[in-house]
Point group: C2
Chain length 232, copies 2
Amino acid sequence: MLFRQFFDNTSSTYTYLIASGRGREALIIDPVKEYTQAYLDIVNQLDLRLVRAIDTHTHADHFTALGDLRDETNCITTMGEFTNADCVSEQVSEGDRIDVDGIRLEALYTPGHTDESFSFYWKQGDQRAVFTGDVLLIRGSGRTDFQGGDPHKSYDSIVNKLFRLPDETLVYPAHDYKGMLSSSIYEEKHYNPRLAGKSEAEYVQIMNDLNLPDPKLMDVAVPANLACGKLP
Amino acid sequence: MLFRQFFDNTSSTYTYLIASGRGREALIIDPVKEYTQAYLDIVNQLDLRLVRAIDTHTHADHFTALGDLRDETNCITTMGEFTNADCVSEQVSEGDRIDVDGIRLEALYTPGHTDESFSFYWKQGDQRAVFTGDVLLIRGSGRTDFQGGDPHKSYDSIVNKLFRLPDETLVYPAHDYKGMLSSSIYEEKHYNPRLAGKSEAEYVQIMNDLNLPDPKLMDVAVPANLACGKLP
C-alpha cells in the first residue's frame, strides 16, 4: 500500500495520495491547485494512475485541484451529495463505499464546518483511518461560522459519528497549524480541548466565541471551488 | 505500533516519535527545542515513556530538544560517535543496534552533510524505513559546505549506503521545504535530480555550485546544540 501526505504551507492544508499497490490505481483527497503538477509528477514517478480526486467539502482557504486533475487525468471528481459544486462527476451519500483498487472508503456525512462536509473512513485488517476534512482537526475543530456551518451539527458529527469509530482509528484532517500531522480518535476524544469533557452547550459556546477573521481567500476561493478550482 | 511525524514550520524540520506499542517505551528522532512541551504532552497523553532522544547530527538551523527532553524525562540522549556534543549519554557506531521496546534501529554512518551525520534504519516484517537526517532529502540532499560537509562523502553515503537499502524503504528526512513528507529509496534513486543518472563528479559540481547563504541561526544553534540545545 502507498500512503502519502502532502502539506501546503500557504494554507496549512494536508492532501492524501493513496493506492493499494495491487494494481496501479490511486486516489487523492483534498488536493491543492498549486500542487497539481507535483501530484502528477509523483503519480507518474510511482507508475500510478489517478482515478479519483475527492474534496471533503468546499474549501474557503485555498483553491482545489479537482478540476485541473480531472482535465489532466480524466479522473472521477467526488464530493458529498449536498455540495453546490455541480462540476463534480460523482456525489456520495452517507454510507456509500468508494473502492479504488482495493482501497475502500466509506462516506460519512459530517456537517458542521460546512453543511456539505463529508469524512471518509478507511479500514483494512486491523488498520483504520478517517479523513475528516475540517470537521475534526487535531486538538481542534473547523470553524462553524460560514457556508452553512453550525456548531450544533459540528458537535453531533464529531461526538455522535466520528467518536464512535474505533479508538485506534488514525485521524487525518485537512489542516493543522501547529506541526501535528495526524492523531487518533482516542486522542481527540480524550484530549481535544474543545470536546473532551465538554457538553454540547459548552462546545457551541466555544465555537461561537472564536470570532475568527474571514479566510483571506474566501471571496475568490469559494466561487472558484464551486467550479472545481477552475478560476473564472 | 505508534509512528508520529511532526513539522516545525520555522525551520521546516521533521521530528519522529516512535513506539512499538508492546510496552510503553518511546523514542524520538531530531526533536526541536520549541516543541519540547508538545512532545511531552503527547507522550503523556499516549501513556508513553520517552526513553531515548536521538539527533542524526548537529543541527545548524534549529535548537535541539535533546537536553530539555533529557532533563524532563531522564531519557538516554544519542548521537553518532563522531559528534562533538559531549553532552549526549550514548554515541553509536556503524552497525550498532538500538532497541526500544521492540523498535530496532540500525545506525548507519552517513557523512557528507556534516562529518558526524548518522542515519537510522528500521525494519520489521516487510516494512522498512530510514531516517536520513539531512544527508538524503526528498528530491534533494543536505548542503555540504560547513561542519565538515563534503560532497564526495555525501555522494558515497547516499549512493553506496542508503541506495543499497531495499527500494521499498520509506525515506523520512529531517527537513523538507516543498510539502513532501516522505519518500522511498526507489524514488530517490530514480527521481532525485541531483543523483539520478549523475556521476559522482556531476553531483560534486552541483553541490559546489549551490552557493547557499549560511543558515540564519547557525552561529548560535551549533554551539547550543553541542550542549544538547541548552543555551549558554
